[in-house]
Subunit: 369 residues, 2 copies
């Protein structure tokens, strides 16, 4: 029995991978019919209620999580009862943009310039020092929420107010060429493996399309990414899948953020890699040997945001693998995705159009055809 | 909601494929914790209880089955309430070895000589006419049960007694070179697709190893198999996956039996084909376009019979995909399987040895290396 904190689509896909390996799942999730309900029991608890936590961990051989806003204290308490992987310290690092950036520095991973600020005055100074900036809340930002852009001479007060008068990080606004991500995996024995760099295209702060491997990524870029990935994995004594988002600038990599879990930019691995990120995450946390992270073909993953395209039309595309999450449609919500493996340009264009992502062509066209 | 009669490992793997497509499952299964319980609700009913049948079909958009010993009358009654695919007529044909053989004749599919017998005297005559024979009960045989070999001069009485004094079929005992199987799929719209022929190696009447595609199968053999498959699909107005077992003799095919469901010899398709037999069965019964049945690599599937090999050792084999069914170990029981895709000879030998199937090398060695 594997306990998973969170019961969204990531939990659902972990469950699908783990059932094949003979495991059962229990999900800690407040909503009554989450996507993961199809693949295990769902329990809703208060993290502060020791009896309820007891009931959750009872019988679990390991506990993991599928979202990063798990209270670190709760994860640490659970870890006194049953192994919790990835380590709660990785949660702590990822939940605060300042500790995250400090982790990058400590591990020798290049990252954009940053200045932490705790007041409107400090924000004004930071903007004047950094110039074009992205101002982010230190905590609880995701999918583009809790952040805004700002320029050197912008008035700090309204920004400070708008972001909630909470601790912020002012980051250099990097004129990056594209966003790449790396999925890094580390086993309990310290063995590591890395999926190829993926190019991600966002709209409105939400991932729309991932191209795997990233077109035109030199082997040197992959080597750099893996070196950074290994430094972060080892620094955190990590176990499981770690997602690392990079900006590519002048052909080099700048780490933007990490997610201590399986990641949307790795969904293509279900159909396009020998061993999926979900299976490898489970292999890692269970102390089993890691599986091959190599591709079985070039893949394009397209998210369904807010609505699901006509299934009949999608499945007519020969190498389209469709994944739906059984979530109610709502604007901006991730409802499913499709992965095309070794598809030709016209298949990719058909799927992008069906998914309402027609203009999200890759920055390096031709690399996926 | 998809209703499935039966809740074994085939139901479990149907569920894993169908959840990815956004479906929920209900399984009709008497045992309380069957393999399919991981992927849906399990209900146990008496087929003769109309209220219980009502409860099973309530809310189902389609009903299918994962074993062939479903009472045909029950399937027909359910079909008055909700679409049932494959058609109950296919169940009827497959449940009786005589109607099955007559179906082959009607569809123009070569099959070994056969004589139905209903008494010890008729059995004696049949043996004397046919010579070396396999004597099978007409109904309820599977995995080598309910059958025995016999020779021209054998005494009919003890055979008649041993097989339970029930209607039998006496079949010519074919000195076949090997057993091949074809998975044929037909959609609601009559579209068909076929997986490549697979070579199957049995021991004690239980499938141990499948090689996909079958080594050394000429393209002519595949063409013949597909022609026979299409004839059977169309004759039955079939919808779903139909498994057809053939003997290969003198380079030609003789149909041995059919199974109107997904089949153990198609488990390799989860990892080794673009669209698995499970997804294609669901696409068919749901009226969706069929997916590609082509391979992504040469595959070897090895069943775990009676015990499960050490998982750590198995997962160290680079392209091993392990599937466990969460069943209690028992001699002769199928507990899981592993599929190797594009593996080298030494990986195949390692896995065969781990699975206790070391001597089950293919009849055409080298074809899977």
């Amino acid at each position: 029995l594997i306990g998973v904190i969170g019961g969204g689509q990531l939990g659902r896909m972990l469950g699908l991978a783990g059932i094949a390996l003979g495991h059962e799942f229990r999900f800690l999730e407040p909503s009554p019919h989450p996507p993961a309900a199809a693949v295990g029991d769902v329990v809703a608890i208060e993290y502060d209620d020791p009896t309820a936590v007891d009931a959750f961990v009872e019988g679990c051989e390991v506990v993991t999580y599928e979202f990063e806003n798990v209270p670190v204290d709760a994860a640490r308490r659970i870890a006194t009862r049953v192994p919790v992987w990835p380590p709660p310290a990785a949660l702590a690092a990822a939940q605060d943009r300042l500790t995250e950036k400090e982790l990058f520095r400590r591990a020798g991973v290049p990252t954009p310039q940053f200045v932490p600020v705790d007041s409107s005055d400090e924000l004004a100074s930071a903007l004047s020092a950094i110039g074009d900036a992205v101002v982010k809340t230190r905590r609880e930002g995701y999918d583009g929420k809790g952040q805004t852009t700002a320029a050197r001479d912008d008035d700090a007060d309204p920004i400070w107010n708008r972001l909630g008068e909470v601790p912020l990080l002012v980051e250099e606004r990097v004129p990056f060429e594209r966003e790449l991500s790396l999925l890094a995996v580390r086993g309990r024995d310290g063995a590591t493996t890395f999926y190829p760099l993926v190019e991600n295209v966002h709209r409105d702060g939400i991932l729309r399309v991932s191209y795997a491997p990233a077109g035109g990524a030199s082997s040197g870029l992959q080597v750099d990414a893996e070196r950074y990935g290994k430094a972060l994995l080892d620094e955190l004594a990590y176990v499981g899948v770690l997602a690392i988002e990079f900006f590519q600038r002048n052909g080099g990599l700048l780490a933007n953020e990490i997610a201590p879990r399986v990641h949307n930019s790795g969904h293509w691995t279900i159909d396009g890699a020998i061993c999926s990120q979900f299976e490898n995450h489970l292999r890692a946390v269970l102390g089993l040997p890691l599986g091959p992270a190599s591709t079985i073909g070039d893949s394009v993953m397209v998210n369904f945001i807010g609505s699901v395209p006509d299934l009949r039309a999608l499945l007519q595309v020969p190498r389209a693998h469709v994944h739906l999450y059984s979530k109610a449609a709502r604007p901006g919500r991730k409802l499913g995705h499709v992965t095309l493996v070794d598809a030709d340009t016209s298949a990719v264009e058909t799927v992008l159009a069906l998914a309402g992502a027609g203009s999200f062509l890759p920055r390096a066209p031709g690399t996926w055809s």
